[in-house]
């Protein structure tokens, strides 16, 4: 197993930086450490009411997974008891900038008061409906929505807890909540690959083999719809939705090569071929820009697969990733364009192992995010800061989450069954 020693050294020692490359060929390693004093401290008080312990544990875990706050007093031992108004000075001594005071009402709602320690008063109060039966998937998603509001109040940025990651396990489409709980099979028919979320959070597209088609599943209705006809000698793969929700892109392989096709995501109908160059090659893996007017894609037109950018009509095609140094047989593939547009994540064959990297659309800022083991298939969270990807670093291919600003990673799926091809959802809509 090849190890990227330089990257590991920087990861351990360097403070958090994002450096600008001097020229497009220069690759910069990401390093980062977390200091407890750098992130605002937040206390989540014990939560009275039914399943209050579970609520508290979920809120704390969600806030930690956002990587923007530090949890103070996780075990609740040593926290000043609170009846009525908190003793703000005591909490300030503990390093808390905010206090979350929540309770589950007898009606099964989550009442939350959010205190500013500096201002010595509650600054937000809200009631969150807890849908579904306690501890069910819908109930947990309601608690995650509350956590995302807490994140917004504490940091100014909406959290990503009320989201799911779709992935493939043994040829079937699964989803798992952002905190790793609630893994469930979504679609069990056929052999599926490459799930992709519609921006509404309501639909999942994926490809099937034998027969090959692009299928779109309505998660609310629990129904699936084949978007492409089954045609002999044709393989359809790598679906992706445009951020405006109107277009479904995918790759179609025939005897004449593989090209990117676009179709109406909602109405269906015939797909139209988008020529991004001479026919006869391989062009696949589209990923749309935030304004839905361009897509990044992978082409084998040079010696090895590389990432390109094209207008949606196939014009203005340009190479984004250069060939680089060394014999990168498997090239650069699987681009994922961040929702805020600041970077495109992809996997790069570095010393015969795929690693996760990001590059700005201009091609100038290049960052290596992983250096150990083999890592593939990056997909951005809605905050354009966290990435989910698959890695074999634990021994079996599983899903991991990476904070691109601090380099912290956490394992999302576990066990002896392989999980791969992750896709991070937008905010999950209420049912």
């Amino acid at each position: 197993m090849k190890v990227f020693r330089t990257a590991i050294l920087l990861t351990i020692l360097a403070p958090v930086t994002r450096l600008t490359a001097q020229d497009s060929g220069k690759v910069v390693k990401l390093g980062g450490t977390y200091g407890a004093g750098r992130l605002p401290g937040i206390v989540v008080l014990p939560v009275p009411g039914s399943n209050g312990d579970s609520v508290r544990a979920m809120l704390q875990r969600d806030l930690e997974n956002g990587d923007r706050v530090t949890i103070i007093g996780r075990d609740a031992d040593g926290l000043p008891p609170v009846s009525g108004t908190p003793n703000y000075d005591a909490f300030a001594q503990l390093g808390a900038a905010s206090i979350v005071q929540a309770s589950v009402t007898p009606q099964g709602e989550l009442h939350v008061a959010f205190h500013s320690v500096a201002e010595k008063r509650p600054v937000q109060a809200r009631q969150f409906d807890l849908a579904g039966s306690p501890l069910s998937g819908e109930w947990r998603m309601s608690v995650h929505r509350a956590a995302d509001s807490l994140e917004l109040w504490a940091t100014g940025v909406v959290g990503i807890s009320a989201t799911r990651i779709a992935f493939i396990r043994e040829g079937k489409v699964w989803t798992v909540d952002s905190d790793g709980a609630g893994a469930v099979m979504v679609e069990g028919a056929g052999y599926s690959m490459s799930p992709a979320w519609h921006p509404s959070g309501r639909y999942l597209a994926f490809s099937t083999l034998d027969p090959s088609s692009i299928t779109m599943r309505d998660l609310s209705a629990g129904t699936s719809r084949r978007m492409t006809p089954v045609v002999a000698n044709t393989s359809n793969s790598a679906p992706a939705f445009s951020p405006d929700g109107n277009t479904l892109a995918f790759a179609r392989a025939t005897a004449d090569g593989t090209e990117i096709y676009l179709m109406d995501a909602m109405k269906g109908g015939a797909a139209r071929k988008i020529l991004t160059g001479r026919e006869g090659g391989i062009n696949t893996l589209p990923s749309f820009s935030p304004d839905s007017r361009q897509f990044a894609f992978v082409s084998g037109r040079l010696r090895n697969p590389q990432v390109y950018i094209s207008d949606v009509d196939g014009s203005n095609v340009r190479l984004l990733t250069d060939e680089g140094v060394g014999d990168r047989n498997y090239g650069r593939t699987n681009p994922s364009w961040a929702p805020d547009g600041h970077a495109i994540a992809y996997q790069s064959d570095n010393e015969n192992r795929f690693q996760i990297m990001t590059i700005s659309p201009s091609g100038k800022n290049i960052t290596v995010l992983t250096g150990e083991s083999a890592n593939e298939h990056p997909s951005w969270a809605p905050d354009s800061r966290h990435l989910v990807f698959s890695s074999v670093r634990s021994g079996k291919e599983q899903l991991w989450v990476l904070d691109t600003e601090g380099a912290r990673t956490r394992q999302l799926t576990f066990g002896s069954t392989v999980s791969k091809m992750p896709a991070w959802s937008p905010q999950i809509p209420r049912k």
Binding site: G171, M193, S207, L209, S235, A251, T254, I282, P305, N329
Partner: protein
């Protein structure tokens, strides 16, 4: 057609199925045995009895021989071809294997086949769907170039999703970069190239 040395198995198949000019059907190679007794030598052990039943004249091949020919023809049609990494070009050994399928396909016009392209596990899984399709298309194009009707050949791709060999390393990977051939129609009527 390549004149390079063919593996023995293919040689046997080619000899067996090629449009040959022999008058009689050729069976699979058997140990050479004659039906005449050896000359009597003092103190030598008696000649062993013949191990092959004398071939009947003018009554055609036996049912067992027909089945052997059929099985050999199926084996020829379904023989796998292999590729170099990240390539869909046909190697010489792949061409030879494809060449041997042609006379059997010609002799059995009802037979239809499906060519499935596969890759090893390296590379992007989605990219490998495209590469597998390209490998299947390369074999299809070669066969149609030799006169086999394109309508008899279907191509599919499984990318890296159905490995023949698990594990890492070139030993396994080289066995996964392949086209597999499956008979999808006319299987029960397959005959050798000449009966």
């Amino acid at each position: 057609m390549s004149h390079r040395r063919l593996p023995a198995a293919f040689l046997a198949m080619a000899a067996f199925t090629a449009a040959c000019h022999k008058q009689k059907p050729v069976t699979a190679p058997t140990p050479t045995t004659t039906t005449t007794t050896s000359p009597t030598i003092p103190n030598s052990p008696p000649a062993p009895p013949p191990t092959v039943t004398p071939r009947p004249e003018n009554t055609g091949p036996s049912a067992a021989e027909i089945e052997r020919m059929r099985a050999a023809a199926v084996a020829t049609i379904t023989a796998t071809i292999y590729f170099d990494y990240d390539k869909s070009d046909l190697r010489d050994d792949a061409r030879s294997t494809l060449d041997s399928k042609v006379p059997v396909l010609r002799a059995n016009p009802a037979v239809r086949i499906k060519i499935a392209g596969h890759t090893d596990e390296r590379g992007s899984a989605e990219y490998n769907i495209a590469l597998g399709q390209r490998r299947a298309a390369a074999a299809q194009r070669y066969l149609t170039g030799l006169g086999i009707d394109a309508g008899r050949i279907e191509i599919v791709s499984f990318g890296e999703e159905r490995p023949a060999r698990m594990g890492e390393g070139e030993e396994a990977w080289s066995k996964n970069r392949r086209d597999e051939f499956e008979v999808t129609a006319g299987a029960d009527q397959i005959r050798g190239a000449r009966q």
